[in-house]
Symmetry: D3
Amino acid sequence: MMIKAGRRGIHYLHTLNNVPKNLIEKGQSRVVEASLTLIRERAKLKGELVRALGGAKASSSLLGVPLGHNSSFLQGPAFAPPRIREAIWCGSTNATTEEGKELDDPRVLTDVGDVPVQELRDCGIDDDRLMNIISESVKLVMEEDPLRPLVLGGDHSISYPVVRAVSEKLGGPVDVLHLDAHPDIYGCFEGNKYSHASSFARIMEGGYARRLLQVGIRSITSEGREQGKRFGVEQYEMRTFSKDRHFLENLKLGEGVKGVYISIDVDCLDPAFAPGVSHIEPGGLSFRDVLNILHNLQADVVAADVVEFNPQRDTVDGMTAMVAAKLVRELTAKISK
Amino acid sequence: MMIKAGRRGIHYLHTLNNVPKNLIEKGQSRVVEASLTLIRERAKLKGELVRALGGAKASSSLLGVPLGHNSSFLQGPAFAPPRIREAIWCGSTNATTEEGKELDDPRVLTDVGDVPVQELRDCGIDDDRLMNIISESVKLVMEEDPLRPLVLGGDHSISYPVVRAVSEKLGGPVDVLHLDAHPDIYGCFEGNKYSHASSFARIMEGGYARRLLQVGIRSITSEGREQGKRFGVEQYEMRTFSKDRHFLENLKLGEGVKGVYISIDVDCLDPAFAPGVSHIEPGGLSFRDVLNILHNLQADVVAADVVEFNPQRDTVDGMTAMVAAKLVRELTAKISK
Amino acid sequence: MMIKAGRRGIHYLHTLNNVPKNLIEKGQSRVVEASLTLIRERAKLKGELVRALGGAKASSSLLGVPLGHNSSFLQGPAFAPPRIREAIWCGSTNATTEEGKELDDPRVLTDVGDVPVQELRDCGIDDDRLMNIISESVKLVMEEDPLRPLVLGGDHSISYPVVRAVSEKLGGPVDVLHLDAHPDIYGCFEGNKYSHASSFARIMEGGYARRLLQVGIRSITSEGREQGKRFGVEQYEMRTFSKDRHFLENLKLGEGVKGVYISIDVDCLDPAFAPGVSHIEPGGLSFRDVLNILHNLQADVVAADVVEFNPQRDTVDGMTAMVAAKLVRELTAKISK
Amino acid sequence: MMIKAGRRGIHYLHTLNNVPKNLIEKGQSRVVEASLTLIRERAKLKGELVRALGGAKASSSLLGVPLGHNSSFLQGPAFAPPRIREAIWCGSTNATTEEGKELDDPRVLTDVGDVPVQELRDCGIDDDRLMNIISESVKLVMEEDPLRPLVLGGDHSISYPVVRAVSEKLGGPVDVLHLDAHPDIYGCFEGNKYSHASSFARIMEGGYARRLLQVGIRSITSEGREQGKRFGVEQYEMRTFSKDRHFLENLKLGEGVKGVYISIDVDCLDPAFAPGVSHIEPGGLSFRDVLNILHNLQADVVAADVVEFNPQRDTVDGMTAMVAAKLVRELTAKISK
Amino acid sequence: MMIKAGRRGIHYLHTLNNVPKNLIEKGQSRVVEASLTLIRERAKLKGELVRALGGAKASSSLLGVPLGHNSSFLQGPAFAPPRIREAIWCGSTNATTEEGKELDDPRVLTDVGDVPVQELRDCGIDDDRLMNIISESVKLVMEEDPLRPLVLGGDHSISYPVVRAVSEKLGGPVDVLHLDAHPDIYGCFEGNKYSHASSFARIMEGGYARRLLQVGIRSITSEGREQGKRFGVEQYEMRTFSKDRHFLENLKLGEGVKGVYISIDVDCLDPAFAPGVSHIEPGGLSFRDVLNILHNLQADVVAADVVEFNPQRDTVDGMTAMVAAKLVRELTAKISK
Amino acid sequence: MMIKAGRRGIHYLHTLNNVPKNLIEKGQSRVVEASLTLIRERAKLKGELVRALGGAKASSSLLGVPLGHNSSFLQGPAFAPPRIREAIWCGSTNATTEEGKELDDPRVLTDVGDVPVQELRDCGIDDDRLMNIISESVKLVMEEDPLRPLVLGGDHSISYPVVRAVSEKLGGPVDVLHLDAHPDIYGCFEGNKYSHASSFARIMEGGYARRLLQVGIRSITSEGREQGKRFGVEQYEMRTFSKDRHFLENLKLGEGVKGVYISIDVDCLDPAFAPGVSHIEPGGLSFRDVLNILHNLQADVVAADVVEFNPQRDTVDGMTAMVAAKLVRELTAKISK
């Protein structure tokens, strides 16, 4: 048995007396700047490419955010983005979406890589700054018209800086379609305002969303219901899904606002369909239920995320990676035009 | 069943007529430059920190190279670096190495993050250029005295650009201690000169190593033995390990050269000890055999790598991740002083 | 390969000549008495606590029965009770049921621990006596008003002594809602009258149930159908579930009898939703189907069981444990008031 | 890493100078003849037995075709037949089908064993000849009235020689009900006309099927849709399954032709229900959906297959083997009368 | 994601105003008393049986202590005792130990069952009291001459109350042979004096052991080495095992004290041999190394324990359960005479 | 739960009144004859091929015997032969053995396929006849000089008919080197004279072996030791392996008899090295120990077997298949010359 948990890099070294504080701060600033420059350059190259090919009005572009530490339970979602990418291009399936979009056309799908979350944290960057870097990265993608960000989480805490960036960049609130087993709307969870359980409280408080529809909910406390009422959230619980199904499979969103944002927590699915999640909550949606909602949605989808896939809980053959990848593929088809 | 394998990003788009070639080339150059800048800044921050703390003559610094596509069989090693880091700091063990070094002291261990291999490939960077970028990254770490690179693979093809960089930077050949089930010394494997089966042929041809000792060998063809003779490699096969053990557990290397490089392919271990590898080859070393060789080695270790850990073949509880991490930990203790 | 199966403890020692028979019998009686005393004391403490808190008319209290040897195939259900408890309180979910009951209020849920089944068997207690001890334990819980037993199996053979105890204690038959892939109503299976395949034959013969509704049935022989007719069982097979669904999702039971008993064999679910069972029988209910039946049921539920969860067949992350736990949680909400 | 892929037996030895070509050809002919003789004798024995028992107008008889090399991705289906047989007779379930047929009555189900595919390949038999041997084997079963072949794959390439044999033997086309995630109707996949992605193109070109209904489709390219139109295939995609369900659960097929053939690719099921497949494609049918289609189908089923179960991707407890076995069991009930 | 961790039973209810404190205290006392009575009666029955059979001078008797909450990392060892018992009697092996003892002779091995740890905790019993109950239970076994306790953990924290009880009952210190990857001798770990990392500090402070030999050590901090010196512990680290092997395989212990206690932490073994542990620490003993030490030990073994087997980390086929069981079997042979 | 175990094919139909007994017997004879003809033709083709290539004095030829029903515990070894073949030719390793033999040279290794054990059993062939068919098949291989049989089990019961055939064909006893955790020498196990626990008793009684050396033994009863003495078996138990190692690694066998037979039960290895076995018995040989014994053995190896690999207990990546395959590969090198 053993003793004290190791501590990473310089994260806890601020207190060391013999290291000048401004040495660290200057170094951090240079690392942050270089990180954003790298994302900017990748986005720029992909934007130039899509524009050179021509004909695309909206084009989805992947941005990975391998962040897992704002989870209250397991931190495996930090490993998700490369696994989802591998599954998108896996040799076991083809490059056509269900409704016929071709993913190997860069006008449909490009990739700007990952925000270097783990390396920033290892350089002592705190969460306030990290969230800003994520927002900044999203804006760098949006800068490159017609690219639209399709974000690969990471835990659900990342939806806050992403939606904030989208709203700020577009200049007004969006409508949010949020598929999840949980409302993620708690005031503050275990003292962490960036907790993956609180991201939608932050979004609503900031006025970044007008309507917020939550679908797939089946683990909610009284606080969750009260917060829902307080913010005017439309909460569709699984208990009544058989009654709500017709409505949810014929949604029209985004009128009068800047567009629609879709946030899919993989655990909106029943664990039978998506075992690779941190929070196993039986009684969820089937994969086809989710696709029916997405395929029939009438909306101008300006950005989206797929979060909370946890590769450390997946089956050995990566079934949930394939599930997350197909959600990304179908969202790509929804965004690009 | 399905049809054509998807193709990533712009990698195959050079042939497209309507995209100006120099648009892509300029963008690629900017991305390469930004990638190296980011590594430089992280290395610089860590170097400044260690120097500010003072007292370290040599300090190991992790550099991840998530590259798996030069494997002839499986490509999972591309996912290894973040899993090894997680295991190094896993709460199930402490921060002290077997001989008493404290890993949470930055003078013993820092981290400069990963070379963004997958993102560079997605931007259409080919292998010639990628290998140079890896070499360049290694040199950026060595630039920051007293940092010494401890590279996390990736497949074994990465040892070539790493050893090349080390030798070029130090200005002469090194001695190489290479633990592996295979000699990786084939002229060219399946037409790929960068194949993970050929890295040590490249190293020997380039004159980057004076002595090359291969330990743990148990899968070798006649060509492998002939190449060994041709390059003067000291091949210690498992067939005779009980006789060679005393010699190998009392090695003294590096005299008259620029130092010693240690390359550990995780499959030098018997698969009982390290199941998470692409090439299961029974009859290998025990974990203690490897530590006995390392602990008793007399050498100035200037750099090292741990390669070929394949998380997609590991046990659900990550036993091989812990094995790779402990190899890294003990190498850290060997390097730092 | 190997020789003779080991035999546990004194179970087979009755025949030994040099051990006085009454020495064993006296010791067994003392052990049985002490076992029941321990259950009585735990039930008493929990009953006193709930009554002191006040306001509860009915309060569910867990009683584990770790018995697996009456299964015809695998005996893993003997390990289920502690795993279900762990999953009920698992940090990955909260303490609120779907309809808003708070499980961390002892007026909603308490626990009186396990009947020491394995230890009794190791002391040579035979099945006749063991079944009586189980019945007795159930009555000890019911003695402590307002506690109502929510039994954690164990294989399905335990439903017989449990329902018998409930009926005897209440002084008349109950209605039974039985969710299962199999009717468990065979006269006698492989010579074992206590077989998990025969428990409902025993219940019907004893007059402990008035109506018996079986839902989820998809593995039934001609004998199973004949026994069903003989006892007037209402058998709802999966073949016709799409037609029966409306009826089953709007049940009203228990009028004119002493209350309603719910017995959930985890294999009523399709193995996609509950892989951790001994008898994989594709084509079953979804988790939501079961909750819809439970949530809409109009009944005074006097006791219930969740049986046949087999941890030795579960996924590594314990998906079926979470499924069994959520069934227990929602049954708790149904019972307590 | 390693060197050159091993090559089996004499398969690649034709080019060897010192082996007389006709020595190999004569030996191959004797092996082919002996293989067919063995199948003939087994079929004959089973046919005699069923006729001696009397009363059967149609009786399903298993024929295994352990062929996996025409898959574009994984070759595990070559190991499926013995695993499916084990699951059919597994002690965890009984011998009665959902609608009451008794499988242990040889008039309902017999078995003529496997075509020795691997051994024929090891003797250098090429695919043209192998496909003919499969066709010949199917005809040998049909020779023994009232036996009807229920073929255990193997990958989906085997459906072509099987349907061809059935049609040739009966003297005209059949109607085919094809359940699959993919249309398998590509002209030629990766240069292999026998690819598992092309079998239904071969069937339609040969005129062996009049109507071809494809159900469960959710991975289809533009070529797949065009080939579908070209051959007049009725493609029912999962996207519209909720609308098509009523039609598909009330099919009447085979009028005016020689009968109905059912081909079930296990991946027609959602991977939640059947994880043990090579091509994980989320969003498929539930197991009950498939049974509803089969149970309500009005047709004279003259032969059938269950293909693409891949034991190397199954759960440790063999859930998909049980799924494949239950499909075989229910098809047996459909065929036999 | 989710909200607040559930809390078990009455454990945290002391603060509730409306529950009279003495109601709980009285109930707890009755539950403790009943728990000890049950253990006493089981021990008595087994003792009477062994004495009636006659001829045994020392007879090992299993006592399970399913306690996992004093682990700093994972709590799975709480599930170990029933799994070890199942493996001891598993049909895959016979009842004879390597040196010929017959385990199905009750004079060699009996079982007094488990201390009801989880149920006591659920009744609000704190750790001070729980440790006393464990000590008391051990003494109840020793009361029944010739029974000697062979304790099944549980995490390593249980060795403290067990050794204390053994020493107090025998009236003086014992020699302790302790096989482990860790010294478990820290002053106090994370503020918990009962931590599984501190048990041997408690034992040495209490004077319950004269000599303490630690074998297999390979994760030790400077504090661990200092505490070792302070208490005069003989620490044999794996680094020097090849040199120490001869000494350790020829031990003679216990002269001049009350006997020898053997404590085996399953993680003394390399994780290749025992993957089912909480703390994977590569570089450990082989299973045969441990048996060589045990078989050749000259000692009067008065009690022993096997701890830290974690079923939640075991392979699906329970390899580590078989390993733990064989350790128990061979210890049984060592104890009984 | 479920009802009555299914029964395969015609195996139990002898009792049916309306099937003429001689109809079955004639059919069975034809099936047996056709089975042997097929093996004869495959052996003949391979023999002709090797002779045409010239230069081989002894050439190993694989013969699979997929028989698992004589195991006392699990029957998975029936699935082993195709999995071992796949692993022999797996792309993760090359075709050269450790000492330099090239497996893709047919003079070193050919394959005559499997005895159709399951299909013979399904035709009602009993064990007496089945054992004779296995013996006959072995002789058919030996008929084709210079082929020597290398048999792939199956459970260990097959060694009896194989060794019998070898001895009868050669006209005298052989020396047998038997590596196993168990002696397999019981008079009759659970009433089955063909039990895998009794095969070496049958061999010794029949006089087919002169010397029998058993290595790796660690699960043996008093009967096992007595039978060993009775037959003059040289039993080397693991308890003394460190002392016996030198002798066993320098064996010279077969002088004065017809040659040497090697029988390797995969469970001779410690389960750390070979988890995929039915009988997990910790404390066994390492893989290198076995190779050291084989490589240094001086003997004319006339035939060999590798048995008791159980794919149903293997790791998901087939580690034990690779282990069994490497044993076969190295035996091939030992046999062929």
